[in-house]
């Protein structure tokens, strides 16, 4: 019987929840590709292959108080932090009710204040200093809050990564830097992105521990992030965690990955698909029967169908509403 999760401090129920969230993220992602290829939504950016890292990390946080600053592949992470399938589908269809941006931003630009999912943009890694600022606020207010920011390995070359990490190291702030190293920055492989063997090697320069872990193992990710979060909460400062994953899809729906990597390579990576290995684990632990699996797939399909239908029917924001919310409108009314 598989027991690794108990050693990591996870209950049976946690593990089942983690698996269900992973499966939901994958099926939702797959549906978005179908909707794109059938001409219903203009754009998809995908998290397939990275769900274990995202969900392992999210479950290691206090999801009632901590902040996440996700990057554009973190569908699994935002689902774990309380965003719903319907809300993500509304974002894909760019409808008014989309809580991320009301249809203003491309899909994958997450943000939802009530769940402390911090709004993000497209220039990569700008969210890193924001995470540091949130951690600074937590430290100043003496609140036991941790912020966790994610980014790709290519992004770890940006100045904002280095400036933010250094700031956090100097001021010993409760922030976790989680790199989802999926081996490609669009088409450019890891060895053309960084000169050191690991992204985590960069931690040493900023006075924080760096870890490179298997991002296909959600329990390993949970354990590493949990320890780092506990330490950060107690004043032990930041950590850099590099999760090794593989991007199973092209960069986005507008990319054709056949020009820069072989089908064999992708096929080989699929043999290590975290969804398959975690399914085996959960089954091995006696927490998932074939029957329940089947039922779960049906439940998820129903949920996604319902969300798709809802989002497709939902109204767009009015064209003129593009003029709203440049500044605080409450103040403008007061001055008028």
């Amino acid at each position: 019987m598989e027991q690794k999760h108990k050693e990591a401090g996870l209950t049976d129920e946690d593990v089942v929840n983690m698996y269900e969230t992973m499966l939901l993220a994958r099926r939702l992602d797959e549906r978005m590709w179908l909707l794109n290829r059938s001409g219903k939504i203009p754009f998809v950016v995908s998290g397939q292959g990275q769900e274990a890292a995202q969900i392992g990390a999210a479950f290691a946080l206090n999801r009632d108080q901590d902040y996440i600053l996700p990057y554009y592949r973190d569908f699994g992470m935002v689902l774990a932090f309380g965003m719903t399938v319907k809300e993500l589908m509304l974002a894909s269809f760019a409808k008014a009710e989309d809580p991320n941006s009301g249809g203003r931003q491309m899909p994958g630009h997450f943000g939802q204040r009530k769940n402390r999912i911090v709004t993000g943009s497209s220039p990569v890694t700008t969210q890193v200093p924001h995470a540091v600022g949130i951690a600074l606020a937590a430290k100043m207010d003496k609140k036991p809050i941790v912020s966790l920011v994610t980014f790709g390995e290519g992004s770890s070359n940006q100045g904002d990564f280095h400036e933010g990490a250094n700031f956090a190291g100097v001021h010993k702030l409760p922030v976790l830097f989680l790199c989802e190293n999926n081996q490609y920055a669009i088409s450019v492989p890891l060895n053309k992105q960084i000169a050191s063997p690991h992204v985590s090697d960069r931690a040493a320069g900023y006075g924080m521990p760096g870890y490179t872990i298997d991002g296909n193992d959600p329990i390993a990710v949970y354990q590493c992030v949990k320890e780092a979060a506990d330490r950060a909460r107690e004043g032990g400062g930041p950590a850099l965690i590099e999760t090794l994953v593989y991007r199973l899809t092209p960069h986005t729906s507008d990319d054709d990955d056949r020009s820069y990597r072989t089908a064999e390579e992708v096929k080989e990576a699929r043999t290590r698909d975290p969804l398959d290995s975690f399914r085996l684990y959960v089954k091995g632990a006696g927490l998932l029967t074939d029957e329940r699996e089947k039922q779960l797939e049906t439940e998820i399909a129903d949920m996604i169908n319902e969300a798709t239908e809802y989002a497709e029917q939902a109204p767009y924001a009015s064209p003129e509403s593009a003029l709203q919310f440049v500044y605080n409108e409450a103040a403008e009314e007061e001055n008028a």
Binding site: S101, V118, T119, S121, M140, Y327
Partner: protein
Amino acid sequence: MAVISYIEAVTMALREEMERDPHVFILGEDVGKKGGVFKATDGLYAQFGEDRVLDTPLAESAIAGVAIGASMAGKRPVAEMQFADFIMPAVNQIISEAARIRYRSNNDWHCPIVIRAPYGGGIHGALYHSQSVEAIFANQPGLKIVMPSTPYDVKGLLKAAIRDEDPVLFFEHKKAYRSIKGEVPEDDYVLPIGKADVKRKGEDITVITYGLCVHFALQAAGKLAQEGIDTEVVDLRTVYPLDKETIIESASKTGKVLLITEDNKEGSVMSEVSAIIAEHCLFDLDAPIKRLAGPDVPAMPYALPMEKYFMMNPEKVEKAMRDLAEF
């Protein structure tokens, strides 16, 4: 009422806001123990401690980005860029992030930060310690840019900026820091961001300007008055978004407008002011709209004769005003 310097008004506003609201804090390079390279934060480290007057690593994008993050978690950061010239590494954070956070999140998140920076020349600062950088940011909806001219305005506008719910760039003319003094009340007051101020009423010509040049214009207006030329001086105070109403009103009234900026001429804030007047006041104008500005070279040189050649001064302003009045 006490007479204090422009930079003392900066310090006073910061101190009062920090006393009023425990969420207000300062971050920047050398702002702590040293009190800033110009001493704008002098005494605040001693009064409020290092948690609220934070010496940051030398990295401007982090200063802006950390401020943005802290503001989204409920704080009221006032970030200092040591010189406006050094704001460039932070431009992505200011334009892609701060300016767009409210808009892109459909009003879910907002970013109440202030970024203060000394700008302007005339202090032997050469290319990289003299620049006016406002035009870079003055077409970015979501930002507000305040550039006060007097100690009174500094205090009222900086306090307003700190209380504003949106990001404000607060540019302080470094030559004004100690050369400009004025009466500043000790009580708490704020001035409206987005409103120009008519610093002198007049009927014959209008000068529209901001920052240090306001003083050159007022000085020249005094001289011209002896010759029977009655000048109105409009101090923009906020250069983005512009107070169109006051601009249009004054231009229509006098029909002769001189726009002055220390910045390079093309694409400056004054180019926009000129367009507003051209759009709204054509039939009220008695002379072409005149712009007096720095030459279109990258920035002012170090050697004194070249610096003086670039810089705005009372003589240049007076001549341009007289020429316009005589048109």
